[in-house]
């Protein structure tokens, strides 16, 4: 077979070089066996491939370079301020950046408020999102699923400043009794203990987390809906044929299949929550007292601290302090995304 192919291919050397490669008898795989062909033949055939690959590589490299450039910019601007810092950047809760001669700033308090509100949001949003996605993909009749999914997606279209106003003006008063109840009855659990503002103030991590949960709900639901809907129907039918109820089908096939994607989507939501700025700037009240590590704390997140500080952006060192905080946020969002990838790939391995 190989020989006949070779002789056929060697026969018309004068012909347009591209043609023989595509004859059915001459699979591309055998190209190395045919030295008589002009070496530029392959190039002629693959010009389109090449252009495409170059463009794809270039755009990929561009994105990577852009991210690296942003990181580098943050680092370069942050270093002088970190040198001038009179407090421990990682361990201090102070934020005194008004006087460029005596900078003292640390990220502990920012990190606490950021992480507490985001994680609280995630804890609330994950089960709800999983529930909505399972309902939409497995239970809801099609006529209902479409509009409902659309409504959930609409949540993502609401500007975050509106969420902020809604949280501060509408939700906070409604939540007051709940917050007070939790604080009085479950206050012995540290996380529900007294915060650095009264539990009934409403402008605390508790309110912020709930608003954030609503904001990240469409992200997580959207991803979860996609992965749950992609459960192979052969598996679903296999479970049904064994006498599984709807819920058991979900448990034995849909959930194991979509779990890693769901976690990945949740991490995307976490990344979004960590970086959310405007809504939290509106909701969280400002306080000089350090956090008590309770969800009834108030204060600033990385992002809202930076937003609030924009009035101070007139001195390079002061700006550097804010940029250092921004750098931490940038790195953590990155880490969260990497974690999401890792979770996805390591749980995906079990499926083989």
């Amino acid at each position: 077979m190989t020989e006949s192919t070779n002789s056929q291919r060697a026969a018309p050397p004068g012909e347009n070089g591209a043609a023989p490669v595509n004859t059915p008898e001459g699979p591309v795989l055998e190209a190395p066996l045919t030295p008589p062909n002009p070496p530029n033949e392959k190039k002629v055939v693959r010009v389109g491939d090449r252009i495409f690959r170059t463009m794809a590589t270039a755009s990929g490299a561009f994105v990577v370079a852009l991210i690296a450039a942003i990181g580098l910019f943050l680092l370069i601007r942050a270093i002088p301020a970190l040198h001038a810092n009179e407090a421990n950047f990682l361990l201090s809760g102070r934020w005194e950046t008004g006087d460029p001669e005596h900078l003292a700033f640390g990220i502990v308090d920012l990190a606490w408020i950021t992480v507490a509100s985001s994680v609280f949001a995630l804890v609330l949003a994950m089960p709800v999102a999983a529930g909505i996605a399972l309902f939409l993909t497995q239970y809801a009749p099609r006529v209902l699923a479409r509009p409902f999914a659309y409504v959930v997606d609409l949540l993502a279209a609401v500007p975050s400043v509106i969420y902020g106003l809604w949280g501060a003006l509408v939700l906070a008063p409604v939540l007051k009794p709940v917050a007070v109840w939790l604080n009085t009855n479950l206050g012995w659990i540290p996380i529900f203990g007294d915060g650095n503002v009264p539990a009934d103030s409403g402008s605390n991590v508790f309110t912020a987390g709930i608003v954030l949960a609503v904001m990240i709900l469409p992200i997580i639901t959207g991803v979860a809906r996609e992965v749950f809907a992609r459960t192979p129907s052969a598996q679903i039918e296999g479970a049904l044929a064994l006498g599984a109820t709807k819920w058991e089908v979900v448990r034995t096939t849909v959930w194991p299949f979509g779990r890693s994607g769901f976690v990945g989507g949740s991490m995307l939501g976490l990344g979004r929550a960590l970086g959310e700025t405007v809504a939290l700037t509106v909701i969280l009240s400002y306080t000089y007292e350090g956090p008590h590590y309770s969800i009834f704390d108030a204060g600033a997140t990385f992002a809202s601290r930076i937003a609030l500080g924009s009035a101070e952006f007139n001195d390079n060192l002061t700006v550097g302090a804010y940029i250092a905080a921004g750098l931490v946020l940038f790195v953590s969002t990155f880490a969260v995304n990497a974690l999401a990838r890792w979770i996805e790939s390591s749980s995906g391995r079990g499926k083989e």
Binding site: A234, E237, A241, T245, T253, K351
Partner: protein, 258 residues
């Protein structure tokens, strides 16, 4: 254990499409019944209606009766989930639960039915895998995921999963069509074994296979696109293949044999 099936005036629909018209036939306990016929004639549709899997398709509809030892599985108040626990099914494409271990795959149906006793589950795992001629190949890796087996092994795993619950009837939709000749023979031998304990209905495109494994053969045909499929004739396998009473059956069979 092994029960008979009586199908009476079965009509099956997908939305407005009348897919299968007026099928009546009997399936005897502890026997193998083969469904043959050209593509699209409704073999799978009929088969899936026998354990109420047809109604899983949105918009589908069933008319007629299917009696399992005299009890109509479509009677009002009968729970389809319960029906599927007593009438097992093996699909054309092996579909083990890929993340579950081999052991968990085998006992998945039992666990759904609420069996928790570990010793009993282990016993049934071994018995079912032996029954499916798979035990020797997998006994050392029962905790490995079921997705890691070869296609033929996966299909036998699915058979083990189906017989683990000791169903009254076992339905198989072209169980060998994705397998090599060796695995196919292994499964055909297995069917001959299983026949002692189970009532089996098998859909196949392979005439020789139908002739080899089945006791009776039902030939389905469809007049054309958009027409409903019908049962042309059913009879003892030897007779259908040597001396069918309908010309269509003869044409189909001889056409295939050349």
């Amino acid at each position: 254990m092994a029960k008979r099936l009586d199908i009476e005036n079965l009509n099956l629909y997908y939305n407005k499409f009348h897919a299968v018209q007026d099928v009546s036939l009997q399936v005897h306990a502890r026997s193998v019944t083969a469904f043959i016929g050209p593509s699209g004639c409704g073999k799978s549709t009929v088969l899936r209606s026998l354990n109420r899997m047809h109604e899983v398709v949105p918009g589908s509809r069933v008319e007629g009766r299917v009696l399992l030892d005299g009890e109509n599985i479509y009677a009002p108040g009968v729970d389809p989930v319960q029906v599927r626990r007593t009438i097992g099914m093996v699909f054309q494409k092996a579909n083990p639960f890929p993340t579950m271990s081999i052991r968990d795959n085998v006992v998945a149906g039992l666990k759904l039915a609420g069996e928790k006793n570990k010793r009993k589950l282990d016993e049934i795992t071994e018995r079912s895998l032996r029954g499916a001629n798979l035990w020797e190949e997998v006994k050392d890796r029962l905790n490995k995921p079921g997705g890691g087996l070869s296609g033929g092994q996966q299909q036998r795993l699915c058979i083990a999963r189906a017989i683990a619950v000791q169903p009254d009837v076992l339905l198989m939709d072209e169980p060998c069509s994705a397998l090599d000749p060796i695995s196919t023979l292994a499964i055909e031998d297995l069917i001959a074994e299983l026949k002692k304990d189970y009532t089996i209905v098998i859909v196949t495109h392979n005439m020789q296979q139908a002739a080899r494994v089945s006791d009776q053969t039902a030939f389905f045909n469809v007049a054309g696109v958009g027409q409903p499929g019908k049962l042309v004739e059913i009879g003892e396998t030897g007779k259908i293949f040597s001396n069918p009473s309908q010309k269509a059956t003869e044409d189909y069979i001889s056409g295939r044999f050349g």
